[in-house]
């Protein structure tokens, strides 16, 4: 008996598209040049569905579902950019801007920051929630790298790349809710971490200026993200 082809056809924003059954809505959208905003998702890392920016509407579903972890289904009708979704995305981003001290003008990633670019793209001109202005630390104890918690958005890309790709699991999260923060080892200074291999992958997956190389001044920190899909591809080929 011939096995049915594991390919599903679906509609995204009115366009008829197809995807393999294990692919997510985001995968198919990306292949077809449909932009869905996201900050925690990164090609090559596991998906956590945490930033909630990639939520999409699916016809017949009450709930909004994250495109990064929702697999395609036959006959699905997806809307990625309704007015309602735009409203939610703007609010979520605004909340992020209020959470810590994101001061673009003095940030090493100014002009190259994923959050900044998203905000521009979503037309955020001002933030209408009050800012928190928390006191956050900067850990520059590492020889080559710096973590500035003022810019961290807790996307956990650094945690995942360190665990899944580098295999060191130097990064993790401590604390709960608004007090959560990324830490190296058991909350020791990065410079005295015994597990860190100084590979620098975390620097380049970080969407903002929270992780950067020493010696970079304002707007100088360009991140090279291309290594990740390439690395994954090469590893798969070698297997």
């Amino acid at each position: 008996m011939r096995q049915a082809a594991p390919v599903k056809t679906l509609k995204i924003d009115g366009r008829d598209l197809s995807g393999r059954q294990e692919e997510t809505i985001l995968d198919v959208a990306r292949q077809n040049g449909i932009f869905i905003p996201r900050l925690c998702e990164m090609d090559g890392l596991s998906d956590v569905g945490a930033c909630r920016l990639c939520l999409v509407e699916i016809k017949g579903q009450n709930k909004l579902l994250p495109a990064c972890v929702t697999v395609v289904e036959e006959g699905m009708e997806v809307t990625t950019d309704s007015e309602r979704l735009q409203g939610y995305r703007r609010m979520i981003l605004e909340l992020l801007f209020t959470e810590r001290n994101h001061v673009c003008s003095v940030c090493v990633s100014n002009g190259h920051c994923e959050m900044q670019m998203l905000a521009q793209r979503l037309g955020i001109t001002h933030v209408h929630f009050p800012y928190r202005y928390p006191k956050e630390e900067v850990d520059a104890s590492h020889d080559r790298f710096v973590i500035d918690h003022n810019r961290c958005i807790l996307c956990t890309r650094c945690v995942r790349v360190c665990d899944e790709i580098e295999g060191a699991h130097t990064w993790d999260i401590m604390g709960r809710g608004i007090d959560a923060k990324v830490i190296t080892d058991l909350n020791e200074p990065w410079g005295s971490s015994e597990t860190c291999t100084s590979c620098g992958k975390c620097i380049h997956v970080c969407p903002t200026g929270a992780l950067f190389e020493k010696g970079r001044s304002v707007a100088e920190m360009l991140k090279r993200r291309q290594f990740l899909p390439y690395l994954t591809m090469m590893r798969e080929e070698n297997e």
């Binding site: 930033c51 909340l95 809710g177 608004i178």
Partner: protein, 547 residues
């Protein structure tokens, strides 16, 4: 363990108990223990010793009798319930066993609090000794398990649960039969059964009481579930804040293993089942099933997006059945009496009974089990005995931080899953907090938002930052510094959190705010526009004071 051996244990125990002509039961669940019921039990023991009547009079520590506010409670074989007993009352109580009751201690039981209850989950609470498996077996314990194992296929067990109409007692009310059937049909090399005993709603103590009063009932429910879905390993995830429940559970597991009701080849069948305890470290979010699974796996307790549901991919990636303590406690009676019997109780869509923890401004606080569908009015004014000090009823909060506040015009609504949801609250796990006119609803909303903010795991942005912003606004309203702009923001955030949060904690965090905004909009307005707190709670008292 064979059915005959079980009968033998029951027979021996009943025989031993029949020698006693007098019985005195002392509540040794956490509520009464906290008012020195252990001293009462020791006092009674000593007095019996002194009189040399040890062979005729049995003094037994039992589980919760319900009326926690009047503890320590003592019941006797003469059918009398005593309240607020002290160790010094021992002699008087023993004297009264064959004569007239000690009138100053008598707690009347012909009142609605006792008469309106229907006990299924709590049938053994306050009757059996939670530390002795023999006592449970003598009360028909484990007969449902033997019946399932020897007379029924797993399909038949699931059919009975489906027919019973039982729905999850943890809060969401998902049909239990459907969940079991899904796990049973899922494919995996190993399946798991997990009992969720991470009860964390403020003011709720149903699960704790069940575990402290009748731990074997929960084990029996888990065993039957494991047989039905094909699982051979189980975990009970119980919060570390319940040391007594943990102690009794550990003891119960050891006893069940000893008599051969847990372990390999139970009842001489091919069915094997092991149970282990996992202690929660105090995170409310670990009551959410995917966070709970992560915690059992030894990871950080944060939720993940569903699907895949735990029934397909749960603990260690295997099909996993997760039910709440009270759900498991309902299983044995359903198997013993049949699904149809259970389906006769309750309303059309909400079957059976529900245990509620009545707390707050009512005369009778404690644990009650009532058929689904009783009205809120009956709960508060008949069973609860009304509001003390002649004050006026204001609202009842159900479902903890995920639920809502129901005002007086909801009083005649039946208590079932659908009605509560329609009124903007949820059944939740069964906490019921009654509030009178001295409570400020803004303050109540702020209290629950503070809870959600501290308990948010921080994984998703809407919940992590949204709860912070909502708490800030509610604090500002309480301090009379909020503006109309803040009120608009508050409503925006309610909508955002509900629709974009990752898990149930964030999605339901706005409920206390939404429900009070709807029913008590006038109070919010008074705070914002007139800078007045009608209940006199906000501003006048230190910030953080709650009802």
């Amino acid at each position: 363990m064979t059915p005959e051996e079980l009968d033998q244990i029951a027979e021996t125990e009943r025989e031993a108990q029949s020698h006693f002509t007098q019985r005195v039961n002392v509540c040794v669940a956490a509520g009464c223990l906290s008012c020195q019921s252990q001293a009462v039990k020791d006092g009674l023991d000593q007095e019996v010793d002194r009189r040399g009547t040890k062979d005729q009079c049995q003094v037994k520590g039992v589980g919760c009798m319900g009326l926690c506010s009047e503890g320590p409670l003592v019941s006797t074989s003469a059918g009398v319930l005593y309240k607020k007993v002290e160790a010094a009352d021992s002699a008087a109580i023993l004297d009264s066993l064959d004569g007239t009751p000690v009138s100053r201690l008598v707690c009347p039981t012909d009142v609605p609090f006792f008469q309106r209850q229907k006990k299924i989950v709590l049938e053994n609470s306050g009757v059996i000794d939670p530390d002795r498996v023999e006592d449970y077996i003598a009360a028909n314990g484990y007969t449902a398990l033997i019946k399932a194992l020897t007379e029924m296929t797993s399909r038949e067990v699931i059919d009975h649960i489906t027919k019973s109409g039982l729905r999850g007692r943890g809060g969401a009310g998902y049909p239990t039969g459907l969940k079991w059937s899904t796990v049973s049909k899922s494919v995996g090399t190993q399946k798991y059964v997990i009992c969720n005993a991470d009860e964390g709603d403020p003011g709720a103590f149903m699960d704790r009481s069940v575990l402290e009063s009748d731990p074997h009932r929960v084990l029996e429910g888990m065993l039957i579930a494991a047989y039905a879905v094909g699982a051979s390993e189980g975990y009970i995830y119980v919060r570390a804040e319940y040391p007594l429940a943990i102690k009794r559970l550990k003891n119960a597991i050891r006893q069940a293993e000893r008599v051969g009701l847990l372990g390999a080849n139970i009842c001489g069948t091919r069915f094997s089942f092991r149970v282990d305890l996992r202690l929660g470290a105090g995170a409310f979010v670990c009551g959410e099933e995917t966070a709970l699974i992560a915690s059992v796996e030894g990871k950080r307790g944060t939720p993940r997006p569903r699907p895949p549901y735990p029934a397909m991919e749960g603990l260690f990636g295997q099909p996993t059945l997760i039910n709440n303590v009270e759900t498991f406690a309902n299983i044995a009676p359903i198997i013993r009496n049949g699904g149809e019997w259970y389906a006769q109780i309750g309303t059309e869509k909400s079957k059976g009974t529900k245990v509620f923890a009545l707390a707050g401004r009512v005369e009778n606080t404690g644990l009650v089990e009532v058929p689904m569908g009783v009205s809120l009015r009956e709960m508060v004014f008949d069973i609860g005995g009304g509001i003390p000090e002649g004050r006026k009823f204001k609202a009842v909060q159900t479902g903890g931080p995920s639920g809502g506040c129901l005002p007086s015009d909801c009083l005649d609504m039946p208590v079932d899953y659908e009605s509560l949801a329609r009124a903007g609250s949820i059944m939740g796990s069964g906490g019921m907090i009654v509030m009178d006119e001295s409570s400020c609803m803004v303050d109540v909303a702020k209290y629950f938002m503070d809870f959600c903010m501290t308990e948010s795991c921080g994984k998703c942005i809407p919940c992590r930052v949204g709860t912070y912003q909502m708490h800030r606004i509610l604090t500002a309203i309480g301090n009379m510094t909020a503006t109309a702009q803040d009120m608009k923001m508050l409503e925006e955030l309610c909508d955002l959190l509900k629709h974009t949060s990752l898990c149930g904690l964030g999605q339901s965090a706005p409920n206390p705010v939404v429900s009070t905004l709807r029913s008590f909009a006038e109070e919010y307005r008074a705070h914002v526009e007139e800078h007045k707190c009608p209940a006199g709670v906000c501003g006048a008292q230190p910030v953080g004071e709650t009802a």
